[in-house]
């Protein structure tokens, strides 16, 4: 193959260019978080500057930032837990006791995700208001777990199907009740799949904006609502916003990086091995 080293150089440059271009906004935001406010808005943009941690200190000092962060955490974890509690038995049932209806049920579950949230915004808002769930963490957990349930069931289903049925039969022969089959054999074997499902669910709930913005105001607002409140900027505050944003996205970014391979498998519904 001629020009191999040239081809490789071309590839390397192209690859790195694409990667850096895509990552640039995040990088820029990260860098800005260490600038002073004046440096942050300087034109031409300052590439060399004395970094400061003042922004991070300011953000973390703000009691409400921590409250929002706590809400994001609780909502993400709570919704994921609820979705798993509902989804694991459902996926188990469909993966190992398939009936003619199984395919239909799976597709139907997916189709509920097609229902645009905005289509039911009004009744949900009114319902939540009447049930006293507006601006509560529990109310958000409820709606987020429903939003994420179809995806959770889908991913779990595709991971469960990878466990050979013979192993579960062997456990049945060994005397396991269906519950014991689940807890002693299936769950340990599909732990990596369940973990990446959980991670995806956490990511989706953490980044969820529609319901956070509409169903919460002060007490239960999450980081999405918090960052959205800066939509109309007043004065110089970009450096602090960058710091707050970095803090808001860093954990999820890391989560995503860790589990991206597994997530791709589960999400593509078996189209990818």
């Amino acid at each position: 193959m001629r020009n191999t080293w040239q081809a490789r150089w071309g590839l390397t440059i192209a690859g790195w260019t694409v990667a850096l271009l895509m990552f640039f906004p995040i990088l820029w935001m990260f860098v800005t978080s260490f600038k002073t406010e004046i440096t942050a808005v300087a034109t031409p943009p300052a590439l060399v500057f004395r970094p400061t941690l003042g922004n991070y200190a300011a953000v973390l000092e703000r009691a409400d930032y921590l409250a929002f962060a706590k809400n994001s955490l609780v909502v993400s974890l709570g919704s994921t837990l609820l979705a798993l509690l509902l989804g694991v038995p459902a996926a188990y049932s469909m993966a190992f006791f398939p009936t003619r209806a199984t395919r239909g049920i799976l597709l139907w579950m997916l189709s509920t995700k097609m229902l645009p949230a905005v289509g039911v915004l009004v009744p949900i808002y009114l319902l939540w208001r009447d049930l006293g769930l507006l601006d509560t963490v529990f109310g958000l957990v409820l709606i987020d777990s429903i939003s994420v349930l179809p995806i959770v069931v889908w991913m779990l289903f595709s991971f469960f199907r990878e466990v050979p049925a013979v192993i579960l039969e062997a456990s049945r022969m060994d005397g396991a009740t269906p519950t014991e089959e689940l807890t002693h054999v299936l769950l340990p074997l599909s732990t990596p799949g369940i973990a990446s499902t959980a991670l995806l669910s956490i990511i989706l709930c953490w980044n969820e904006a529609f319901w956070s913005l509409n169903l919460t105001t002060v007490k239960a607002a999450t980081l999405t609502a918090f960052t959205a409140s800066f939509a109309s900027p007043e004065g110089l505050f970009w450096a602090k916003l960058s710091a707050a944003s970095t803090l808001s996205i860093a954990p999820i970014l890391i989560f995503g990086w860790i589990s991206q391979r597994q997530m791709a498998r589960g999400l593509s519904f078996g189209a990818v091995k």
């Binding site: 050979p164 013979v166 192993i167 039969e169 062997a170 456990s171 049945r172 022969m173 060994d174 005397g175 396991a176 014991e180 002693h184 054999v185 340990p188 074997l189």
Partner: protein, 364 residues
């Protein structure tokens, strides 16, 4: 102590019946093999005995008690799966003691049982390994060990050797037979390999298309196949089948004509046949000899050299293939024109529907 009985057992998937009314009895302590081609229903039958498949109709009785509605773990049976089905996340020892753990057996007793089985199977050094660290033969042993720990009334084995290489298969076959003798427990063994069944079993059930073709000891099936299917399935190389026409029939003898005009005289079967009837003549390769003026001339196609023996694959004048057994040093080559003689007393006759025509004289 376990006698297993099947009474008119049927299995349907939807409206499609795959097992049609099977009756059989497996006596205590016997080694029974279910043999048949894929799709014959042998695995389904085994799984119905195990309780992993529901019986659509009929009864499964263990020691006289019907168990169709009893869950698999309560039937007192243990199963060795074709793919071993070991728990990948547990060690060998944990795999073997799992059933005891579920039953609430205390740890010391569990460990002691596992150790004694491991000793019998000579796999003590493997106890702390995980399945992914073991070879095929070792995995097989663990699967058997797991079944043994349960001290079942009967062992059910679903093609356990089919994933092993040929040499290991031969070795494990002997070990299983030895194990059966030592444990003195009923074993029901499913295989598609008739050689395995022949070498290991006390009795064989030949299944085809969800029905029992014949049941009996290996020797019985070999010497007196009841149907064309059994005759062709049991024995390697396969029995030769030739189309013949009845020339004349008397009370004692039957004269049959081959397509090339030559004829052979055999003992008359119990059923009276008429002249002109067409039947199939079956004869095993060891009963076909190379002979200068044999009644069946043909041309050698291929030779199989097996050391002390050779199998001559030939083609007769009318295109029919014939396999004959000959001493290993027979001086023939592909392309040679030769002739064969069959031993008439070793011939089997089959009617149009594939049923064997019983003979009135001694079998070959």
């Amino acid at each position: 102590m376990a006698t297993i009985e099947l009474k008119n057992v049927r299995k349907r998937f939807g409206s499609h019946e795959v097992v049609h009314g099977i009756d059989l009895v497996i006596t205590d302590r016997e080694f029974m093999a279910f043999v048949g081609p894929s799709g014959s229903g042998k695995s389904t039958l085994l799984r119905m005995i195990a309780g992993l498949e529901e019986v659509s109709e009929g009864e499964v009785l263990i020691d006289g008690l019907p168990v169709q509605n009893v869950p698999p773990s309560k039937r007192g049976l243990a199963m060795v799966f074709q793919s071993y089905a070991l728990y990948p996340h547990m060690t060998v020892a944990e795999n073997m003691s799992f059933s005891l753990r579920l039953a609430g057996v205390p740890r010391e007793e569990r460990d002691q049982k596992v150790r004694s089985v491991a000793r019998i199977l000579e796999m003590e050094p493997l106890l702390d390994r995980k399945p992914r660290q073991l070879s095929g033969g070792q995995l097989q042993r663990v699967a058997i060990g797991r079944a043994m720990v349960r001290q079942p009334k009967a062992f059910l084995l679903d093609e356990p050797l089919s994933n092993l290489d040929a040499a290991l298969q031969a070795q494990m076959r002997l070990e299983l037979v030895r194990l059966h003798r030592e444990l003195s427990t009923t074993m029901v063994y499913v295989t598609h390999d008739q050689l395995e069944a022949m070498t290991m079993a006390d009795r064989i059930v030949v299944l085809n298309d969800g029905r029992v073709e014949q049941m009996g000891s290996p020797l019985e099936l070999y010497k007196n196949p009841a149907t064309l299917f059994v005759a062709g399935f049991i024995g390697t190389p396969k029995m030769n089948f030739l189309d013949v026409e009845v020339k004349s029939a008397s009370a004692e003898n039957l004269t049959l004509a081959f397509s090339n005009g030559a004829s052979v005289s055999v003992l008359a079967p119990a059923q009276r046949l008429k002249a002109g009837e067409r039947v199939k003549l079956g004869v095993r390769p060891e009963h076909v000899a190379l002979e200068q003026d044999g009644e069946l001339p043909g041309e050698i196609d291929v030779l199989e050299h097996l050391g002390p023996r050779a199998y001559l694959h030939a083609r007769l004048a009318d295109g029919t293939r014939l396999v004959a057994q000959a001493p290993g040093d027979t001086p023939v080559r592909g392309g040679d024109r030769v002739a064969f003689r069959i031993r008439p007393e070793a011939a089997h006759l089959f009617d149009g529907s594939g049923r064997a025509l019983g003979r009135s004289g001694p079998g070959g």
